[in-house]
Symmetry: C2
Subunit: 345 residues, 2 copies
DNA sequence: TTTCAACACGAAAACGTTTTCGGACCGGTA
DNA sequence: TACCGGTCCGAAAACGTTTTCGTGTTGAAA
């Protein structure tokens, strides 16, 4: 077990000073050609790499991004991570990930932990519980300390900083419009409780689309789910007693559950009822029937967030001028909204 | 924007020395009761938190775990991360995540990046390309530098270190046995190319189970897939021309594709053909029919890996004695292997 | 009064870098 | 000879901690 090579070691071996070694390696003109070569050769031979921690301390920069997410077993967030990782790595940054598990306390803890020198800035999607409490002091605090924050997807209006979102309402409207264009008039929505920002926005999009097409909103066709663990039962129950020709679900899980509920009711998707989902993931792609959905482009959101954060860290961007990047959604049409004759099996 | 409070600042404000402040905060008996109280009160008031980077440099420990994974948009790895995060956080460690995207070069780069002081040790699941190249010098290198490594899931025999795996062969055998017990005799397997260690092991489990039950292996029922992106076509093609009463797939995606292929062939699952998958994820749970599967307990694997690594970092464990933890698999029976009368729809 | 603990605190080194500043040496010019 | 300007290098400070060691003050014992 050889300990890591340091400047001091090299200096000792070559009988020069530490500063000489440092300067030689950084090609300072202060150092004579021959010693420079000697040092560089030695460093290369023994594979010297500067110690990141020491550099961080010296430069007061860690080249590390703190990422705090509500969950990770979820295609959307996974793709966001991929996007962040991609650009962060390209620019020489590391990504430190913490999971809040949708808990406010863990979110606060994680941020405090990372704020003490571990990272230069944050990318964050706030926990459900945080949205419910509306307590954002931990965000404001790190911002006050001069650490830039970029909010992703689940943003909060009260905090002024860079943000990356999709136009949830527009995406939802697009989905619902697609259902309407397919001839549906009795469209149910399966959504989340209102304090989940994106859920509320998607609900709004649903409502807007209906109004725009002069379809009267039927409150009885709106199901708001609090806990995803009991969603299947609630959806079964909900759909059993209602006659609809289409269902819009604000996430893949709800959509899959809806299909299941409809089938168990003896209906067929898409022949009898169209179903469209939100957030394109493995489930939508592989489901039978494959699910039409609104693509959130998670990787792109992550990439954009990382880019915004790094630009701010490297001050190429105007201080005090924050921007909100809106990533386009796109409608992916698959089998679940394909209105055709029932195929002969 | 207030800069972070440091010991020096506190010392200056309170007109004592830095060492006094440090000792007071750590409750050293060297410091008189009154100054101690004064310092602690001040620190609390202004919410002093020691700088992690400085601590890392001083202690030569970062309390950070480097995690290098092939991919993340994949339920299994996502649950592994959850498990690691959980115990790491509990023990006061951070987790730095890097993605190799199954590329050898990126895996090497990531490890070199993290090895220069950023982390105390590694948890790693090797990239597909690395398994193919059989080049593990980057692993040996960090180990030689005294950084412990724990391999997870995709392990390599050539490296001596702690490992966490499941008994892939046994899990696969369990799945196949379940099919046999349900009366199937003509069982196809959809697996990966052999250099993917877990794929090969699962294939072996399949073979073992058949032999144990005196079913002759039919090489024609074995499909090895290299690239998941073209898997659907290959699986369609494969199943179209073969008559089987069951399919064992080594992952969820293949299983879903298999069902799709069978259905498009006019067959029904599970009435005509049973299908069982490996790795319990969202897809298996939500699919229609829901897929029976072998649960890998990813969170548990991650938790165990983190535990092993931390134990080694904190030297509570015998040096030079490495262990391989084998996490139990469990068979989850769902609709896709439920042999019943065809329900009346 | 002297001596000696005990007590309370500060100075300094160390972790591994980078950078500023100063200095030694050498050649050339006045 | 005296001075000056380069060239090449080293000492030291700094980043924010912890810890070892030293030191000054006090009070009590001799």
């Amino acid at each position: 077990m050889k300990p890591k090579l340091t400047l001091k070691q090299i200096a000792f071996e070559l009988d020069v000073s530490v500063s000489t070694v440092s300067k030689a390696l950084r090609d300072s003109p202060e150092i004579g050609e021959d010693t420079r070569q000697k040092v560089k050769a030695f460093a290369k031979l023994y594979n010297y790499k500067p110690n990141n921690i020491a550099l961080s301390l010296k430069n007061r920069k860690t080249r590390t991004i703190g990422l705090v997410l509500p969950e990770i077993v979820h295609d959307f967030f996974a793709t966001v991570i991929s996007g962040i990782e991609e650009v962060a790595n390209k620019k020489g940054y590391n990504v430190i990930i913490c999971l809040s598990n949708n808990s406010f306390d863990r979110e606060v803890m994680n941020m405090e932990m990372l704020a003490n020198g571990s990272t230069d800035g944050f990318i964050l999607s706030v926990a459900k519980e945080t949205q419910q409490k509306r307590d954002y002091h931990h965000l404001q605090e790190v911002i006050n300390q001069g650490m830039p924050v970029v909010l992703v997807d689940r943003v909060v209006d009260e905090i002024i900083c860079d943000k990356v979102i999709i136009d949830d309402a527009e995406g939802a409207a697009k989905a619902v419009q697609h259902l309407i264009d397919s001839g549906c008039r009795s469209i149910a929505i399966i959504t989340t409780v209102d304090y989940v920002s994106v859920g509320k926005l998607r609900t709004n999009g649903y409502l807007n689309a209906l109004r725009k097409n002069n379809i009267t909103v039927n409150e009885d066709l709106i199901l708001k789910i609090e806990d995803i663990d009991q969603s299947q039962e609630q959806i079964d129950e909900f759909l059993k007693s209602r006659n609809v020709d289409a269902v819009f679900a604000v996430n893949e899980q709800f959509a899959a559950s809806a299909v299941k509920a409809l089938v168990s009711k003896g209906l067929t998707v898409p022949e009898d009822v169209l179903v469209i989902s939100f957030s394109d993931g493995e489930l939508s792609r592989r489901f039978m029937p494959s699910l039409s959905t609104v693509n959130q482009h998670g990787a792109e959101m992550g990439a954009r967030a990382a880019q915004l954060l790094i630009e701010r860290l490297e001050r190429v961007v105007d201080e005090e001028r924050y921007q909100t990047a809106i990533i386009n959604t796109s409608l992916i049409e698959r089998e679940s909204t394909l209105k055709t004759k029932k195929p002969v099996v």
